[in-house]
C-alpha cells in the first residue's frame, strides 16, 4: 500500500498537502497554543508538524493518519522543547500560591481555564489537551505521549485536581 504512494507526483502531493494544511492549521495552532501558551511558539510548532507531515506524506496520507501524525508531532515537539528549556527556566511542578496570571486585568479575579492550564506541568497539560480538547481516548493519548494507560489516567486525575485548586471551583469534567 505504501509503495503505491511513494511514486505520487509532487504536484498531487503539494495539492493534497495544501488542502490539508489550510483546513487544519488553525485548529492545530490552537492545540499547540493550549500546550505552550504562546501564539508565536504555537505557530512554530504547527509549522514543524505540517512540514514533517509533508515529508512523510506518501506514508501517512491515505490511511487517515495525517491528523494523528501532526498532532503527535506537535505534542512531542512541545514536550521535547520543554525539556530543553528546562535547562534555563527550571520550572517547578509545585502549584503556585498566587492565582492570577501575569498580564491579566486586575478586575478579572477569576482565573481563566487557559491560564490555569498554563500552571500545570507540561506533561499533565498535554494529557488534558489531548483528552479533553482533542477528545482522544486514553489509549490514543497513551500512544502519543508514550505513557501507559494507567499513567495517562493518573495524570489526568491529578491534572483535573490541580485545575480545581487553581480555579477555586468544582470543575466539571
Amino acid at each position: 500500500m505504501r509503495g503505491k504512494r511513494v511514486g505520487v507526483d509532487q504536484a498531487v502531493r503539494d495539492r493534497e498537502f495544501t488542502e490539508f494544511a489550510v483546513a487544519r492549521a488553525e485548529h492545530l495552532r490552537r492545540t499547540a497554543y493550549l500546550m505552550c501558551g504562546d501564539w508565536h511558539r504555537a505557530q512554530d510548532l504547527t509549522q514543524i508538524a505540517l512540514a514533517k507531515a509533508y515529508a512523510a506524506w506518501h506514508r501517512i496520507h491515505g490511511d487517515g493518519g495525517v491528523d494523528a501524525y501532526v498532532r503527535q508531532i506537535v505534542v512531542r515537539e512541545f514536550l521535547s522543547q520543554q525539556r530543553r528549556r528546562s535547562w534555563h527556566e527550571r520550572p517547578s511542578d509545585e502549584l503556585p500560591e498566587q492565582g492570577l496570571a501575569g498580564g491579566q486585568e486586575q478586575a478579572d479575579l477569576r482565573l481563566s481555564l487557559l491560564a490555569a492550564l498554563e500552571r500545570l506541568s507540561p506533561k499533565r497539560r498535554a494529557v488534558v489537551v489531548l483528552r479533553y480538547w482533542e477528545d482522544r481516548s486514553v489509549e490514543e493519548t497513551a500512544a502519543v505521549l508514550r505513557m501507559s494507560r494507567s499513567a495517562v489516567k493518573s495524570a489526568s486525575l491529578r491534572a483535573l485536581a490541580d485545575l480545581r485548586v487553581l480555579l477555586g471551583e468544582d470543575l466539571t469534567v
Binding site: H40, A56, Q81, R90, W133, T172
Partner: protein, 314 residues
C-alpha cells in the same frame, strides 16, 4: 452535554475571546520546509554506509535557537578575556589537545556515512558513528574540585571552539547551573565563514536512573540519528533536525546535537543551531574533551566567573 463537551466548550469560549496573530502563509511555509526536509532525506539516503546502528531519539531538537535564552551581549572568547586557561586541571591533568589550525573541511552530513533510510522509521535516517571517534582520553584528578557553573561551561566551550580551529569570538551568552546536576551555557560563536548558536551542557547522566540510549529507535522527530557504544563504554549519539522558524523570521533553523555519556556518568551535550558550519566531527571533539565534568578545578571556575560577563541566568 457530556463532561468532556463541557470542558471543551469552555476552552472554545475562552479561545474565541483571544486575538491571536494572523496565521499567515503557514501552509506555504510548511510546504517549503517540508520539501527541504525531503531533499535532505534523499541526500542522506544516497550517501551509503555500513553497519547501521539503531538509535533513539531523545526528542527532536528543533527550535532550540528560537527559544534558547539569550543573555548579555558582551563579546566572549579568548580575545575577550585574554589568555584563558587551556586546562582547568592540575599539572597531573591531561595536557590540552593541540589546537587544529584550520576548520575540519568535512561537511557535517557527508562526514557520517549513512545507509538508506530505515524502513521502520521513514523520517529518520539511521547513520553510523565514525570509526575515527575515539573515547575521551583519561582525565587527571582535580586539585581543587569545584562545582561547574554556567560561566565555566561557556569558557570551556569557547576554549574547545578555538582549539578545533573555528577561530572566532563569542557573544550573547547565557547559562545556568544546578550544583551536582547540570551546568549549561549558550552563546553565539562568530567565525570568518559564518556564525553558529551553540549550547553546551554537562549533567549527571545517571540522575534519572536510566541507561544511556545507545540505539536510535524509530521515531518521527528527527532527520538523522546515529549512536554507538565506544570501546571504553561511553555512549555517543548524534541527531540532526530541521528546526522551526525564529520568531519574526522566515529563516528556518537546522540543528545538530552530539552527546556523549561517559562511564563516569557525566553526560555532555552540544547543540548547534541556525545552519551552523561546524561538522559532526568538530562537535564530537568538543564533547569528548576530558575536561568536561560537573566539577572543574577551582582556579578554572574562578577565572571563568571573572571573565565571562555579563551573564544571565543561574
Amino acid at each position: 452535554m457530556t463532561s468532556e463537551e463541557s470542558f471543551h466548550d469552555r476552552i472554545e469560549d475562552e479561545l474565541a475571546g483571544l486575538r491571536p496573530p494572523p496565521i499567515g502563509e503557514i501552509a506555504g511555509d510548511a510546504l517549503a520546509q517540508g520539501r527541504r526536509i525531503r531533499r535532505r532525506q534523499r541526500a542522506l539516503g544516497v550517501a551509503g554506509g555500513t553497519a547501521a546502528v539503531a538509535g533513539v531519539a531523545a526528542g527532536a531538537l528543533a527550535l532550540g535557537g528560537v527559544f534558547g535564552s539569550g543573555g548579555g551581549g558582551a563579546p566572549v572568547g579568548p580575545g575577550a578575556w585574554g589568555a584563558a586557561p587551556t586546562s582547568q586541571h592540575s599539572s597531573a591533568a591531561t595536557p590540552t589537545p593541540t589546537p587544529t589550525p584550520t576548520p575540519d573541511p568535512t561537511p557535517a552530513y557527508p562526514s557520517t556515512p549513512t545507509p538508506p533510510p530505515n524502513s521502520s522509521s521513514p523520517n529518520t535516517v539511521i547513520g553510523t558513528i565514525p570509526a575515527s571517534w575515539k573515547p575521551p582520553a583519561a582525565d587527571g584528578h582535580l586539585s581543587d574540585p569545584t562545582n561547574t557553573d554556567g560561566q565555566s561551561v561557556a569558557e570551556l566551550l569557547i576554549d574547545d571552539l578555538s582549539q578545533i580551529g573555528s577561530g572566532g569570538s563569542g557573544s550573547a551568552f547565557s547559562g545556568s547551573s544546578l550544583a551536582g546536576m547540570n551546568a549549561n551555557a549558550t552563546l553565539t560563536w562568530t567565525m570568518p565563514h559564518g556564525s553558529v548558536r551553540i549550547s553546551a551542557s554537562v549533567s549527571d547522566g545517571a540522575a534519572d536512573g536510566k541507561t544511556p540510549q545507545s540505539q536510535c529507535l524509530p521515531a518521527f522527530e528527527m532527520d538523522y540519528c546515529a549512536a554507538a557504544t565506544l570501546s571504553d563504554g561511553s555512549v555517543v549519539m548524534v541527531q540532526h533536525n530541521s528546526g522551526g522558524y525564529a520568531a519574526g523570521s522566515s529563516q528556518s533553523t537546522h540543528n545538530t546535537m552530539v552527546m556523549i555519556t561517559r562511564p563516569d556518568h557525566a553526560a555532555i551535550n552540544v547543540v548547534e543551531w541556525s545552519d551552523g558550519p561546524l561538522t559532526d566531527d568538530q562537535l564530537y571533539k568538543i564533547v569528548s574533551d576530558p575536561r568536561w565534568g560537573l566539577k572543574m578545578d577551582g582556579s578554572f571556575v574562578t577565572h571563568a566567573d571573572k571573565v565571562v560577563r555579563p551573564f544571565s541566568g543561574g
